[in-house]
């Protein structure tokens, strides 16, 4: 019985990157796959199955969430932000610009999740120290960069965001 129920498709409506979208999904569908396959926003990546790597991190109502560990139906009626919503009219977000300027990425697979976690951090407080950044991104694994340049990028982006706020 359970299997049959989990396969039944239900409509899920959410606001993603400012746009309201509705799609049908099995109630067991994970938010990560709903975003990638139903909404065709493939910038959000899946790198593990234990909520460990953070490649799938998106913001739900402004809070970083590992979208591989949330059901799409749980996001119904909520506001979701993904990497595709970061740049505005072709202008890079300060975080994107800083990652590019500081060689904060290599293969790029962890980068969208890393950007979204950092975005939530900097929105709370753009003036961050190395220690704060390192702890904030500890749920996002990167196998290429050794984190040094990611930390540098986030601090630099924070400084720019602080100036923009003033």
């Amino acid at each position: 019985m359970e299997k049959v129920e989990s396969r039944a498709e239900v409509p899920v409506t959410l606001t993603i990157n400012g746009e309201t979208r509705t799609a049908l999904a099995e109630s067991r569908t994970l938010l990560a796959y709903f975003i990638r396959e139903n909404l065709e926003l493939t910038g959000t990546h899946v790198g593990c199955d234990t909520t460990s790597c953070g490649a799938c991190t998106v913001l739900v109502d402004g809070v970083p969430v590992k979208s591989c560990t949330m059901l799409a139906v749980q996001a119904d009626g909520h506001v979701v932000e993904t990497v595709e919503g970061l740049d505005k009219d072709g202008v890079l977000h300060p975080l994107q610009q800083a990652f590019w300027d500081n060689h904060g990425l290599q293969c790029g697979f962890c980068t969208p999740g890393m950007l979204m976690t950092s975005l939530a951090l900097l929105r709370k407080n753009p003036n961050v120290t190395e220690d704060v950044v390192r702890h904030a991104i500890s749920g996002n694994l990167c196998r290429c960069t050794g984190y040094v340049n990611i930390v540098k990028s986030v601090i630099e982006a924070g400084q720019k965001m602080a100036l923009e706020e003033v």
């Binding site: 926003l41 910038g43 991104i137």
Partner: protein, 783 residues
Amino acid sequence: MALEATEKSPLGKAIKRKEDPRLIRGQGRYLDDIVLPRMLYMALVRSPYAHARIKSIRLDEARRVPGVKAIITGEDLAAANLAWMPTLAGDKQMVLAAGKVLFQYQEVAAVVAETRAAAEDGAQCVEVDYEPLQVVVDPFFALSSEAPVLREDREQKDNHIWHWAVGDQGAADEALAKSPVRVKEKIRMPRVHPAPIEPCGCVADYQKSTGKLTWYVTSQAPHAHRTVLSLVSGLPEHLIHVISPDVGGGFGNKVPVYPGYVCAVVLSLQLGRPVKWVESRSENIATTNFARDYHMTAEIGATEEGIVTALKVSTVADHGAFDAAADPTRFPAGLFSIVTGSYRFPQAFAEVDGVYTNKAPGGVAYRCSFRVTEASFLIERTMQSLALKLGLDPVELRRRNFIRPEEFPYNSPLGWTYDSGQYEKTLQKAMSLIDYDGLRAEQAQRRERGELVGIGVSTFTEIVGAGPSNTFDILGIKMFDSCEIRIHPTGKAIARLGTRHQGQGHETTFAQLIAHELGLSAADILVEEGDTDTAPYGLGTYASRSTPTAGGAAALAARRIRQKAQKIAAHLLEISPDDTEWDGIHFHAKGLESRQVSMVDVALAAYTNLPEGMEPGLEATFYYDPPNLTFPNGAYIAVVSIDRGTGQVKVERFVAVDDCGTVINPMVVEGQVHGGLTEGFGIAFMQEIAFDEDGNCLAPNFMEYLVPTAVETPNWETGRTETPSPHHPIGAKGVGESPNVGSPAAFVNAVVDALSPHGVTNVEIPMFPWKIWEILSQHHLAR
């Protein structure tokens, strides 16, 4: 032959990466982003047992799952003569279990369905009856006569795969016997997994009408995969189009061909529809190729003054159920014979025995040029033991034994010709950056206060860039690499190479290299890799070989273009080609620099205004067969302190000075060093794939298989010396793997240095806090 960067040349400049604008927008195109019309999804049924006979497989319930289209088992593949596939190491591997399983999570059946979830549902419903057999986990037990024979398919009725030896055993034994000082260490490099954040996967798309298979695959070596697939499947090679899209990290994990790939291809052939298979993280860590698992013993002989006289090494290599290493054919133990390291050993002998056990197959060169990490770890650790025995500072011992700059090219006793190096200078630079003498003084003070503080040194030599065709091949294919450059009429260019980057930045660095050779802007050169229908044949990106091999090809293809360009330039300048000179940016008349034309002018003329009789166009392809390997090297110094209460080791500082020859892009080189050091740190402190006595994998996901996070990863300090390779066209050596090869020993040497006043001479990796705490406890150091 180092090339100076002229003011306008992009060589040696920290140019921002061309690949980044798409990747930071989430517009990378990775394997799982590919969706084709009518695409099906595949999931694999895997064995819960490490060694068991398959009594029966029942598919009825799985077939009833809505959406399931087909299921194949080992028997189906056997009927098509596809039950086994060759490994890159020349062994063979079951695609789907044939009669029995040999490791936990081995592939038993493949289920294909309309959706990803339905495929998983179907796989869950496949019922397999197993008869468990005795499991062999310990490679030493595997070699004993009591062990069951695991590979019943072989004629040889034991678990020994091969014996490999190099050097003069008699001379090494004799020199050791005569040496007044000897040290012997048993050193294990445990099984680890590269674990790139993107797992492996493929989409096989066979079109029955054309007979063409398009195969999207997470591949570090797309051309080699095309050839292997053609040999395995019987499909004609010109009808196989391999596309390796953006690759989310590789580190050696994406070199082999995996059973899931073959199943997806078989199912696409059978159904005439695209089939996607993407493994889960657990499948990635538990079944795709591991690395290391070397059980090593080294003995060094030396004089009382600490001059080394001989090295003898024996090793048992645990390959798991199949020898699926991706080593060059003639090197079953890879380039392990670099084990004499940076030192002038007059005599040396090394031997390795490969063994089968009930574990997942491998092992790959994980961020390492084929067993070089193992070799480097062994020699750098054993040199530490020798320094301890002699009571010498590890830096002083190394200085006394370094190969000297004037001794290059240096012939090692195990058969390599080292190209170049300035080991003492590189070490000195690292010592200055970290203030070595000051550190030692500070260490003495802190020790007096009861602190456990250690300083570890590693002065390694790598061997990369496989390789020269007289020695190196994989399944018979010579390990050259290639580049094709086409200059368009407007002076813009496209370059394609036989390599396939996975984050190393080739789209930027190869554009810089080619721009330097042609006097163009790097921005005007598009670099493409990973499409076998467009790129020239090459062996791919691993073993730090891209710059030494394809980089050489790129430089020489560009010079081939320059030769033709010179004739066109002469025609435009209305002088003879012999009177035409290239200054790095322009062609001009000899002695008359004001009369000049640029490569852009020449490009237009190549299509519009040619000398009479000249073939139109401006392009070249070069297949570069390197005359030798390259030998990057470095000096690493780690400073650690140990918490007596928890056994936690804190890396207080780490300085890495690398010499990778000519540097194309210092920003990219530094990034490679940061990443490699972090993986070396993981290997030293936390990464291990362990098994229980029943062969259960104890670390099949990121909950148990720990990789470094930002919190514990040190803030790396880097520097460099630049000793060009004399034989590489631009003097470059390659850098991606040096930090992973050189750093593990620096961490362990630092911990041993902290504990050696208390009688500790060896600490096994990974140095988990509990393990260190046990040592502290045994030596009454725990608090």
